[in-house]
């Protein structure tokens, strides 16, 4: 055929680039989703970093009820519960709540607690100064422990949030960690 046709290879290259770009975009959605959740409080995530308590005015005109829930993920037989089911707190006031954990098995274990807040909007105003969920928690066979969680609420928390729930799900991380590493962690405790 003598007829001049446009060069296919340029177009094919562009389309292949689009495909590669969209494949990368699929993976880019992972960090984008994290940022999105952090900014909007979407999905009720709380920050993994300790908040530095800034001296803020305590708003004594209102109280917010914070409820605590604990749950064990499949396959972890630990005892895991809050020392108190709920607290009433003024925005700006600092509170410490202890969570009790016990390892009833005959082997050293290590676990990770994952927090979630409902309604999700409240997660933006929950500042944790200290939390056991920031790190994995080792526990020797048969041992029990108290794990502190220190937090305060941002005084900017909207008026319509009068109650919210902070729940923790405990996951068994023993299989992902070597026995020596757990023993080491237990020693430093």
């Amino acid at each position: 055929m003598s007829e001049q046709r446009p060069d296919n290879s340029i177009l094919v290259k562009r389309l292949l680039l689009t495909v590669a770009g969209m494949f990368a975009f699929g993976f880019a959605l992972v960090p984008l989703y994290d940022v999105f959740c952090e900014v909007t409080g979407f999905n009720g995530r709380t920050s993994n970093e300790a908040a530095v308590y800034q001296q803020v005015e305590v708003d004594e005109s209102r109280t917010v009820t914070v409820q605590f829930l604990t749950r064990n993920a499949k396959g972890i037989p630990w005892k895991f519960e809050p020392s108190i089911k709920q607290v009433k707190i003024h925005p700006g006031e600092v509170k410490v709540v202890n969570f009790l954990a016990g390892n009833p098995t005959s082997s050293n274990m290590i676990a990770q607690a994952i927090p979630s807040v409902a309604p999700a909007e409240a997660s933006l105003y929950l500042n944790k100064v200290e939390c056991f969920c920031f790190n994995q928690q080792p526990l020797a066979a048969g041992a029990e422990t108290e794990m502190p969680m220190q937090f305060y609420l941002d005084p900017d928390i909207p008026d319509h949030i009068t109650t919210f729930t902070l729940s923790y799900t405990l996951y068994d991380m023993t299989a992902n960690t070597s026995a020596e590493a757990i023993a080491q962690l237990l020693k430093t405790e």
Binding site: V19, M22, C37
Partner: protein, 528 residues
């Protein structure tokens, strides 16, 4: 072999084709590849259909009779995967291969060798997927959506095979889509400008862009499943800092455009058939093009309507609800245009037209139940019930598959050179039409009454409705064997078809003889 006879017969058209299996293995001819796609998709339609028969047989009565729950779950999962990636999508690609070059006056697809590849990797993808059913622990049983952690923590060891087969299917459809885009942009006959292209070409053009935009995202999502399950990453594992809900976001970012990938080419087919048998020009050609593009763009903004119950902020639920409802507008434009095309037309009711008319009515029913599902508060009730099953089978079976059958009857004379047996074809239509409604319509009621989907057992109150649906299911399954019979009979012989067997048909494909010679438009036609 018959090819020898054909060779001598068509010598005047320079129809030299290699004989034997080599012709099919090494072919770069768009018509051969189109035929292979169509036969492959029909085979997969029967395979996926057989799985549906197992599902309906188990659901014929409450209680567990025939299969284990785990096997039932494998059937629902693989039925979905086979029908979507094995039946509907390859059927459209087959139609695109056969018809797009002939419709735009091109001698072949732009990238014929890649075309061969994109077909021949497909059978391997499905051998891997179907083979996984016979492995220890069984095949995928987590639903075609493969939600984490069902597909990671709780899935069988064969999950890697599922992932690889989805990769191969994705590569195949991406290659097919690239081929379609390059063909349409670079191979149009002189004078065939964009706004003169038949709507089937237009809708496929837009579909192809959707494919290259979202199939890579699916490939990424299943790759993350693979690394989560086998290599200790935590994309979707909360314990490691991931989020299972994120899988649903990524999946449906692919999944919703995928829904339109399976219906936009149908719109093109129906827009070709209705004018042909109403003997009028298509009403509102350019509005059809813009409506298709609008649907494609909106499809990227509605994915979370599949996830209303995952716990989203009210603002997000409302956003996705309104965007979803907005899609009804361009879709309504299309339905209006088809009805307006028929208005005062001199209609006749040959089999392609019957299927097209059934499409318009039944797809609209499926669209309406979609609107009901789009209402966020109502969706909390409908979510994961048989109402959803009824909805997507109305849009996929009486929508996409009916349009594929309409297309097959419409173009069979062009492909084979013979008219199909019209009595048999009408029998196929009427049995399909009645049985498909007996099959899927009662599911609306089962769903509204609260029957959950993907469960092999159910409360006895749903017994009657399920029995009716199962009887419809068996009848619909059997009816498709008539289709196979018609197709084989038509390939083997029958009344000679004229170059343009349909009086009102328009388009370049009807200017070449029937059957279409092996090579067409080696010299580009003049389009006025």
């Amino acid at each position: 072999m018959s090819t020898v006879v054909e060779e001598t017969h068509h010598d005047t058209h320079h129809d030299h084709k290699p004989s034997g299996i080599g012709r099919w293995l090494f072919t770069t001819n768009h018509k051969d590849i189109g035929s292979m796609y169509l036969w492959f998709s029909f085979t997969m339609f029967l395979v996926g259909g057989a799985m549906a028969m197992i599902i309906r047989a188990e659901l014929f009565q409450p209680g567990l009779q025939l299969v284990e729950p785990q096997f039932f779950n494998q059937m629902t999962t693989v039925h979905g995967l086979v029908m979507i990636f094995g039946a509907v999508m390859p059927a459209f690609t087959g139609l695109a291969n056969w018809m797009i070059p002939m419709m735009i006056g091109a001698p072949d697809m732009a990238l014929p060798r890649m075309n061969n590849w994109s077909f021949w990797i497909l059978p391997f993808a499905f051998m891997i997927l179907l083979g996984s059913l016979f492995m220890e622990g069984g095949g995928p049983a987590f639903g075609w959506t493969a939600y984490a952690p069902l597909s990671t923590t709780y899935s069988s060891d064969s999950t890697a095979l599922f992932v690889f087969s989805v990769h191969i299917m994705g590569i195949s459809s991406i290659m097919g889509a690239i081929n379609v885009i390059v063909t349409i942009m670079n191979m149009r006959a002189p004078g065939m400008n964009y706004m003169k292209m038949p709507l089937f070409v237009w809708t496929w053009f837009i579909t192809a862009f959707l494919l290259i935009a979202v199939m890579p995202v699916l490939a990424g999502a299943v790759t993350m499943l693979l690394t989560d399950k086998y290599f200790g990453t935590s994309f979707f594992d909360a314990a490691g800092g991931g989020d299972p809900v994120m899988y649903q976001h990524i999946f449906w970012f692919f999944g919703h455009p995928e829904v339109y990938i399976m219906i936009l080419p149908s719109f093109g087919i129906i827009s070709a058939i209705i004018p042909a048998f109403a003997r009028k020009r298509l009403f509102g050609y350019s509005s059809m093009v813009y409506a298709t593009a609008a649907i494609a763009l909106l499809s990227f903004l509605v994915w979370a309507h599949h996830m209303f119950t995952t716990g989203m902020p009210v603002f997000a639920e409302l956003f996705f609800m309104y965007c979803t409802m907005l899609i009804a507008v361009p879709t309504g434009v299309k339905i209006f245009n088809w009805v307006a095309t028929m208005w005062r037309g001199s209609m006749t009711f040959e089999t392609p037209m019957l299927f097209a008319l059934a499409f318009v009515i039944l797809f609209t029913i499926g669209g309406f139940s979609g609107l009901m599902l789009a209402i966020t508060p109502a969706d909390f009730q409908y979510h994961d019930t048989y109402f959803v099953v009824a909805h997507f089978h109305y849009v996929l079976v009486t929508g996409a598959i009916f349009s594929i059958m309409a297309a097959a009857y419409y173009w069979l004379p062009k492909w084979t050179g013979h008219m199909y047996d019209s009595t048999l074809a009408k029998t196929h239509f009427w049995t399909s039409l009645i049985s498909v409604n007996v099959l899927f319509f009662p599911m609306h009621f089962a769903g509204l009454a609260g029957m959950p989907r993907r469960i092999p057992d159910y409360a006895t109150q749903f017994a009657d409705i399920n029995q009716i649906a199962s009887i419809g299911g068996f009848a619909f399954g059997l009816s498709q064997l008539i289709f196979l019979w018609v197709a084989i009979k038509c390939v083997k012989g029958g009344e000679k078809a004229a170059a343009k067997p349909w009086e009102g048909a328009e388009g370049l494909e009807w200017t070449v003889p029937s059957p279409a010679p092996y090579h067409t438009f080696e010299k580009p036609p003049k389009v006025e």
